[in-house]
Amino acid sequence: MSALTIRSLPVVALVGALSLAHAAEPEAAQPGQELFLERCGGCHLEGGFGTRVLARRVPEGQAELQKRAVLPAALITLVVRRGLGSMPQIREAELSDADLAAIAAYLEQRP
């Protein structure tokens, strides 16, 4: 019997966006970028549900968070923790404050 006892490390949460990550972003990974792709990429990359919903609300070209001209870290933090519109909140047990800060810093610097 080949019972594989695999994984004693925590499994990463949320959508297999890592594969998308490699396709979309050939440049060297920035802090927060990988986390963004992994944790937010399920909705907030091109064609994602979040991007589509945002496209109905923000100026053209601004729906994809990575392409947003101005995206203050404080706003990202608030929206993630409180939820906004169609986006449910993401709680600290799922996404630590440190990871959220890294994602927010990455998005604030973009593009």
């Binding site: 019997m1 080949s2 695999i6 499994v11 297999g16 399920g42 109905r56 169609s86 600290e92 047990a93």
Partner: protein, 513 residues
């Protein structure tokens, strides 16, 4: 209701901090924002919790339960809390501390030869899928329409997927449970120390308890065995769209014999036009008026979008030769209908997209933006007998009620072997008070009308546990009373998810009486 006074809550949370570390405990405002259900037609803060804790191990769960029992502080377990349309991460009452198991996210075992996995509560469908793919394990998950949720949480709620293993509750084999007194028990064969068949033989010796821990508040599940389907050699999909609402009964009748004799093993779902349109574009693209979209407008939208009034696909999983024979049988069964199947095939080794293996997706959640406001949803899910006549009666009754209340009817019938899960969703704007009031009224009325016709719900939103529990009223609610008798015995302090599925511990019943 039993309020937790602030001093006692603080005492409990301080002791819990000593168990898990202060960074995994949240209080009042912070907990309420983390665990509210913003998508319900209710002020989300009105039933958001007082605190939350996220343990990392079974031992921590046990220790927390003991503290809670000692201090009489109720806990509300969740796995990933993505129970959208049924309450999200929120509890039923606010005077609880969330027991958030999302950090317990290990895939403990995948047994390839025997086709099962053992998972902790925090393991998501995506995680399990990715794990199987990355390790070239030839087993497939079955998943709901979106894959954000927990494999364990969804199965405990008796969630539904779309492969031959789609009736998730029936694929559970063995649970590990922390009881209301903090003891650890294993169900089925797991009750035997060193058992070799815990995930293989589901029944055990004596009464079987897996089912009793589903949709229940008898304990906290910390591990689950789940059978996984061996990757098939081939899948064959037969997609069909009906132009007219009134073709539903014909489709149901054609499908039943194929489900009953096992020709079709997966759970095809007849989804109505709004279910289809809502993931493509917001409603305003089709109609800007108030009230439900008029039939003529809907018909124009249907033609323009090239979709059916009912859309479904029957996917066959297995050996190519067998699938092809079965496909002919399916075609014959539907031959009297004036539509053609759109047929596609997948062979092992080809990319999984289009195979029927659920790949990670959140696309289905797009429905919440149907009305363009901050969207909300409330899912009403009665079970129908698997007959055309009953499905039709249920559909016409429920659709008429949706429309009378001013809502578009969004719904579908997912086929079990002898039943149909009729899943409908009230979609509303959360900034429209009147619409939210109508959504609540409609939901209550639906429960009443359905019960009067002999239809009960398979699952429901936390807000409606009590009303639905009351609708299961045979012999003066004998089953509810039985559940409460069991509850009092297995959770003597009355601390695990009080009120879940309308099952209240004694101390809460006494306060209410």
């Amino acid at each position: 209701m039993i309020a937790i006074d602030t001093a006692r809550l603080e005492q409990a949370l301080t002791r819990i901090e000593a168990i898990v570390g202060a960074q995994y405990v949240w209080r009042e405002e912070e907990a309420r924002h983390g665990y509210k259900d913003a998508m319900a037609p209710r002020d989300p803060m009105s039933y958001a919790p007082r605190g939350a804790v996220a343990p990392a191990s079974v031992e921590e769960v046990q220790a927390i339960v003991r503290v809670a029992g000692e201090l009489g502080v109720a806990l509300w377990p969740i796995s990933r809390g993505k129970n959208f349309g049924y309450g999200g991460a929120a509890p039923h009452i606010s005077d609880v501390v969330m027991l958030d198991l999302v950090r317990m996210n290990r895939i403990l075992e995948v047994n390839v030869d025997m086709g099962y996995a053992v998972v902790e509560p925090g393991v998501g469908f995506d995680d399990l899928h990715n794990h199987l793919v990355e390790n070239n394990i030839p087993l497939w998950i079955s998943a709901p329409a979106h894959t954000w949720g927990s494999v364990l949480g969804n199965a405990l709620e008796r969630g539904v997927g779309y492969t031959p293993y789609g009736e998730h509750a029936s694929k559970v084999c063995g649970l590990e449970i922390v009881t209301g007194t903090g003891e650890l028990l294993r169900t089925g064969m797991g009750a035997l120390e060193g058992a070799k068949t815990w995930q293989l033989f589901p029944y055990g010796f004596g009464p079987s308890w897996d089912a009793a821990f589903m949709q229940s508040n008898f304990g906290v599940a910390t591990k689950m065995g789940l059978w996984l389907m061996p990757e098939p050699e081939h899948t064959l999909n037969l997609a069909m769209a009906f132009d007219r609402p009134e073709d539903l009964p014909l489709g149901v009748e054609a499908l039943r014999p194929l489900k009953l004799d096992g020709t079709v093993q997966a759970n095809p779902s007849f989804g109505n036009i709004i279910r289809n349109l809502s993931v493509r574009a917001p409603r305003s693209e089709y109609y800007q008026g108030e009230g439900p979209i008029p039939a003529e407008v809907l018909e124009q939208a249907r033609i323009k979008s090239g979709v059916g009034h009912w859309n479904f696909s029957i996917r066959l999983f297995g050996d190519k030769a067998v699938n092809r024979i079965n496909a002919e049988k399916v075609k014959r069964a539907f031959a009297h209908l004036p539509y053609e199947f759109d047929v596609s095939e997948w062979h092992r080794g080809e990319p999984l997209k289009g195979s029927g293996s659920p790949t990670p997706t959140l696309a289905a959640l797009g429905v919440v933006d149907w009305l363009g406001g901050p969207g909300g949803h409330l899912t009403f899910s009665p079970v129908s007998p698997f007959t055309g006549a009953e499905a039709w009666e249920q559909y016409t009754t429920i659709r008429a009620m949706y429309e009378e209340a001013g809502f578009d009817y969004y719904g579908g019938f997912t086929a079990g072997q002898r039943y149909l899960n009729h899943i409908s969703m009230i979609l509303f704007n959360r900034n429209d008070e009147d619409m939210m009031a109508r959504a609540n009224r409609l939901f209550s009325d639906l429960i009443e009308v359905a019960a009067a016709r002999g239809w009960g719900e398979y699952r429901t939103h936390t807000l409606y546990y009590d009303q639905i529990a009351r609708s299961y009223d045979y012999n003066n609610g004998a089953l509810r009373r039985w559940n409460e008798t069991v509850k009092d015995a297995v959770d003597p302090h009355g601390i695990i998810a009080p009120g879940k599925m309308g099952i209240w511990p004694r101390r809460y019943r006494e306060v209410r009486a």
